[in-house]
């Protein structure tokens, strides 16, 4: 790491520390009632307490499960559909208008429909999360498959590669940067929808924890849940970025 990079890193940590100090100050001075705003000390204590009793850990796992299953389902379906649509100009022409209608549809509008059809179940949560998370992945995959260098298809033809080999060795690796970027975006969507579903359907998870804590005016527990959600989003995003960097190592040489 260069000197400048280290300085920037230190500066960013200082800013974060400043935020926490300001939060502590506001709480200590009782500018906001402690019923609504705990200090970072109390939030931290609630976090530790929640984990030692095992309650918070099980809620965290619940949320991670909702997020992971929905995201994986969205990834598989999004890549498959995106590849199908993106690799054929005719399919793009036929399907694109329907996609343009469905894409801006707020997922929250889908939730009552999903509840009516599937009930307040895990299946409903999976459907809603997958439905919301599929768009970034599918649209990125469509773009990635549509943008494959045509010359490479000619190379494939002149080598008489099979259709499967063309997809696996040319189209998919070529679209991979787009696909991974889409998957990183949809990870955030999956987390948001996991929490929403837990709140609406009372499913086991941090969403439910946050809702119940707020209703019981346990503000420290509430903040512990919110902090945990933030950390979850941050860490999963970093994990995907690391995988992305590893799989796209060839790209870093171009820059």
């Amino acid at each position: 790491m260069s000197r400048a990079a280290i300085l920037w890193r230190i500066a960013s940590i200082l800013v974060a520390a400043g935020f926490i100090a300001a939060w502590q100050l506001v709480a200590d001075l009782r500018l906001v009632s402690p019923v609504f705003l705990p200090g970072p000390d109390r939030a931290w204590a609630a976090l530790v307490r929640g984990f030692s009793s095992g309650d918070l850990a099980s809620k965290l796992i619940g949320t991670l499960e909702h997020m992971a299953y929905g995201w994986l389902a969205a990834s598989i379906a999004g890549i498959a559909l995106g590849a199908l649509i993106g690799s054929s100009r005719m399919m793009r022409a036929y399907v694109a208008p329907s996609l343009e209608f469905l894409r801006p549809l707020p997922v929250s509008a889908i939730i009552p429909v999903a509840i009516a059809m599937l009930g307040l179940t895990q299946g409903m949560a999976l459907f809603v999360i997958a439905f919301g998370a599929i768009w970034p992945i599918m649209l990125a995959t469509i773009h990635g498959f549509a943008a494959v260098e045509p010359r490479l298809y000619e190379v494939a033809r002149s080598l008489q590669m099979s259709r499967g080999a063309v997809i696996g060795k040319i189209a998919l690796p070529s679209a991979l940067p787009d696909i991974l970027a889409g998957m990183r975006l949809s990870l955030t969507v999956a987390l948001i929808l996991s929490v929403v579903c837990e709140i609406l359907a009372g499913l086991d998870g941090l969403g439910q924890w946050v809702l119940l804590s707020a209703r019981a005016f346990r503000s420290a527990d509430l903040f512990a849940g919110v902090i945990l959600l933030g950390v979850t989003g941050y860490l999963t995003s970093i994990a995907v970025s690391l995988v992305e960097q590893r799989m796209l190592a060839w790209q870093s040489t171009a820059r």
Binding site: R151, A156, R157, S158, K169, W250
Partner: protein
């Protein structure tokens, strides 16, 4: 036997000997005639160069021979059989090496693509890749990605990938057009030694007239709109060719003059 019948017979035997033959081939794309009634025969082992002003259809002619286009009328044959699509014994070297290589595969991986496509078992691949890299002088760059290589190295890599197909025929579309003069001369000699050794048939499209004479056994000049043959020159220069001696040869200079005059005339 009438004269006409005898002529037909003579043409037929010549065509039999031809490896690639254009038989009054015409190609129309989007209502425009790109190539019209092209008659051309390429003998096995011949190095044929095609020159012409830009837009004269020289690349299109190459793509017809490659099976990437099918003629609208007439026929293009390989070894007497009509060409219906690309075939393994015919390799194509594209001009834009940057687009024709897989950027996510290393030099070795790019060569491997051709071996995988022709079903070479995995355990044989690495030794064949090493041999091909040695052949084109890229042994030290096996693990580099194309973007880490110079233009000349990338084009050499593409040629190596084509050689991995073990082709009897190489179709080269302005392969050195984007390279600097020194690199280009080095690659010209490399291609000559690689193809002369293995008796590979080559169709080489270029806009560089001197390059065409230097490399070719025969040079065809195309006329534009629509593309047809305007001049045909046999190059009787001794082989192996030499960058200095060949280019100073009186015959070279005579052919160069003739070709320049032809191109100049097509531009007005």
């Amino acid at each position: 036997m009438s004269v006409v019948a005898r002529l037909d017979e003579a043409r037929a035997t010549r065509r039999q000997k031809a490896l690639i033959a254009f038989n009054t081939a015409t190609l129309q794309l989007g209502g425009k005639t790109i190539i019209e009634n092209l008659d051309l025969e390429v003998r096995p082992g011949e190095f044929l160069c095609i020159v012409g002003a830009s837009g004269c259809g020289k690349t299109t002619a190459l793509r017809l021979a490659a099976g990437l286009y099918s003629p609208t009328s007439g026929a293009v044959t390989f070894d007497g059989e009509p060409i219906t699509g690309p075939r393994r014994e015919v390799a194509i070297v594209f001009q834009d090496y940057g687009k024709a290589l897989l950027p996510w595969r290393t030099a070795a991986g790019n060569i491997s693509l051709a071996l995988e496509a022709s079903g070479v078992p995995a355990r044989e691949r690495s030794s064949r890749i090493a041999a091909l890299l040695r052949k084109i002088g890229l042994s030290d760059h096996a693990d580099k990605y194309p973007t880490e290589m110079s233009g000349g190295m990338q084009q050499r890599l593409q040629i190596a990938r084509c050689l991995a197909q073990e082709p009897t025929t190489l179709l080269m579309d302005e392969p050195f057009g984007a390279l600097d003069a020194m690199t280009r001369q080095g690659l010209q000699d490399e291609v000559l030694s690689l193809t002369q050794m293995s008796q590979t048939t080559v169709i080489f499209v270029t806009h560089d007239l001197e390059e065409a004479i230097y490399l070719g056994d025969r040079v065809i000049g195309l006329l534009p709109h629509p593309g047809r043959i305007g001049i045909e020159l046999d190059v009787d220069l001794p082989r192996p060719r030499d960058q200095l001696a060949t280019r100073e040869h009186p015959e070279f200079l005579r052919l160069r003059r003739q070709l320049f005059d032809f191109i100049k005339a097509t531009e007005h």
